[in-house]
């Protein structure tokens, strides 16, 4: 019996990073990936559909990732959904801030696809063999 599909929202203003993340996440079987270009676009997509996991950058125009995390955690529909922050900000202070706002994982750029894949799988409770060849 196959696992039901999981869905993931990637909120990232850099088209390059979005493409790279989608490229990596598509290697996880049964994971649907949706893209958003900034925090506001992310909130719009969250209102339209239900997602099992959210990946967000921090430095974005219009609404940054930390504000987005705060909004997500104040929403009853999403307060328990795992959030992964992926950012160039590598200081412990930035990490602590994101985690205190409710992020579940904090990954710094440049990203390593295997680490992103492993983190997403773990947060979604997916078995490790579910990679597409």
């Amino acid at each position: 019996m196959s696992e039901p599909n999981k869905s993931c929202l990637v909120v990232e203003d850099s088209a390059m990073m979005r493409q790279l993340l989608v490229f990596a996440l598509h290697r996880i079987k049964d994971l649907e990936v949706t893209e958003a270009e900034d925090g506001v676009d992310g909130l719009k997509k969250l209102a339209e559909n239900r997602y099992d996991l959210i990946i967000t950058d921090i430095n974005m125009p219009i609404m940054d990732g930390l504000k987005l995390v705060k909004r997500i955690r104040s929403d009853d529909n999403y307060k328990d959904v795992p959030v992964v922050v992926i950012t160039t900000e590598g200081s412990q202070e930035d990490r602590d801030r994101a985690m205190s706002l409710g992020a579940n994982e904090y990954i710094t750029k440049p990203i390593q696809a295997p680490k992103v894949i492993a983190t997403v799988r773990q947060l979604l409770g997916m078995v490790s063999e579910s990679t597409s060849p």
Partner: protein, 281 residues
């Protein structure tokens, strides 16, 4: 001899003789008793000896059987030891094979990751004909894929014989100045077309004015610009293997992407940009 002498009875024997006979009988009987007792004792001793001998014999028999069992056991142990050695050897082979496979899988994952970076960098660089977007993609490649924190993207201005900054990060605007062609590491790189990339071990901390890397951007074999990196992100301690590939890619493609976008900006859309292409074949 008289009749009275011939008819003498035993009871008529002298008292001494009778006593002697009685003594003899008693002695005889006592000796008989003693002999019997001794025989009985010897018999008992022999029985005991027999029991001990039987016990000993049983022990010996048990030991012999035990020795045989032991020999069989030892043979079994030896056989099992042999099987164990074979299994261990097989297990070690499998373990080595698994380790090799894991290592290979990790290696493939890394290569896939690197190839994805290169593909995405190249793809994004050529998906736009807007100068601003091309510079933005260069920005993203340097900041998010290479992990540079402080960098400048330059273009050669042939009329002024200088190199002008067209994009940067980590610097205040007033800090970013044009560079004379042929002067300093950036000017030299733009003149010669040769990269200058310091090794990870040679990366000094903050305060060094020399860039960590200068990569000329080539078009038709000539330098048309350069990227210079002064500092990497906090979490990045040195160059990754893919950085070298990214520098090669940028060196070969970024200059042409900038030229294409710049030429395109003077046209009125893609179809106008293609006008007259057949005449150039």
């Amino acid at each position: 001899m008289t009749d009275s002498d011939e008819g003498e009875r035993a009871s008529d024997a002298p008292v001494d003789l009778l006593a002697e006979r009685e003594q003899f009988v008693r002695t005889f009987l006592r000796k008989g008793v003693e002999l019997t007792e001794e025989l009985l004792r010897e018999n008992q001793e022999l029985r005991d000896e027999l029991i001990r001998a039987r016990d000993h014999s049983a022990q010996l028999l048990t030991q012999v059987r035990s020795d045989e069992a032991m020999r069989e056991l030892l043979q079994t142990i030896e056989r099992l030891e042999g099987e164990k050695r074979q299994l261990l050897s097989r297990s070690e082979q499998l373990e080595a094979s698994r380790a090799h496979r894991d290592h290979r899988a990790d290696s493939i994952e890394r290569e896939l990751n690197d190839l994805a970076n290169l593909y995405v960098a190249s793809h994004q660089l050529h998906t736009s004909l807007s100068v601003r977007r091309v510079i933005r993609h260069l920005h993203d490649t340097l900041g998010q894929l290479v992990g540079a924190e402080k960098f400048v993207i330059y273009a050669v201005d042939p009329e002024e014989s200088q190199i002008i900054p067209i994009g940067w990060d980590g610097f205040a605007n007033e800090e970013v100045l044009p560079v004379a062609l042929g002067t300093g590491p950036i000017g030299e790189s733009c003149l010669t077309g040769v990269s200058r990339i310091r090794s990870s071990a040679d990366m000094s901390p903050e305060g060094d004015e020399d860039p960590l890397a200068v990569v000329p951007l080539l078009a038709d074999g000539r330098p048309v610009g350069a990227i210079a990196i002064w500092r990497l992100l906090e979490q990045k301690s040195g160059w990754a293997k893919v950085d070298e590939e990214l520098f090669s890619l940028l060196g070969a493609q970024a200059g042409m992407a900038l030229i294409a976008a710049n030429l395109y900006s003077r046209t009125h859309g893609p179809l106008t940009a293609l006008a007259g292409i057949a005449e150039k074949l």
